[in-house]
Symmetry: C2
Subunit: 127 residues, 2 copies
Amino acid sequence: MQNLVNVFKALSEETRLRILKLLEHGELCVCDIVAALDMAQPKVSFHLNVLKEAGFLKDRKQGRWTHYSLDDSDFFRRFLLMSVLERIPKDALTEDRKRLMAFVRGKHSWDDAVRSSKGKRCAGRCK
Amino acid sequence: MQNLVNVFKALSEETRLRILKLLEHGELCVCDIVAALDMAQPKVSFHLNVLKEAGFLKDRKQGRWTHYSLDDSDFFRRFLLMSVLERIPKDALTEDRKRLMAFVRGKHSWDDAVRSSKGKRCAGRCK
DNA sequence: AATTTATATAAACATAGATTGATGTGGAAG
DNA sequence: CTTCCACATCAATCTATGTTTATATAAATT
């Protein structure tokens, strides 16, 4: 029963709903999410962990990066995710998406400029 | 968005899930729920109010009593209720039901004893 | 009107959850 | 093997939520 409670607890915080919505169209690394939400990194890591523990997210580690994505392995959670994502007002995430896109663009142009000379690094806010 | 958050917040507490489960088969007055949960009355009233504010319960006042029941007017909440009720392990509520039944039995036998002489009053733990 | 009963509300207190700032870890680059 | 970077974790603080005790309200009975 406590398990069920934790599922709902994970969904009862605005930051976490924003994270889920950001991940709607595919995986993102932590620094992407930090940039999109414009929040301190430990704060974001905290919420990512809550969502992961509750079974809503899975992570994939690759080198220095950790990529998070929606975990659709459980039917109940998947349904909850669906109804959450569709119920978040569209304009609530406009700024997040704007920041995310700007950040990702930054990463790519940086990559292009220094490709094969210095390798990859995180752009913009990651310093 | 905060509205959506509150829906999940209401479901992320064990006492409140127990209340919902108790109401699965029909309305109950506050004193019934207090007896079933074996908790202080203000505590129960607090949780009933959280569930009501979140749109999961409605109330019906009749004389000195307030009867609460599941509010099935909204589709989303109704679905949430369904999946919650079906996911609560059966044995988790055995004691609650036992206490509820004992209490309700108490009310009736008391009623029978004094019917039409003193009118109705709450039995057992309500003193 | 005074009293009793069912429930609600308020204030004080306790606990759990979230935020922040500092530090730790592990991989990759130099 | 040292440094840098992405991320995680920790300890301290702050805030929100739940609990308790006492009191208020309102209906019904006396």
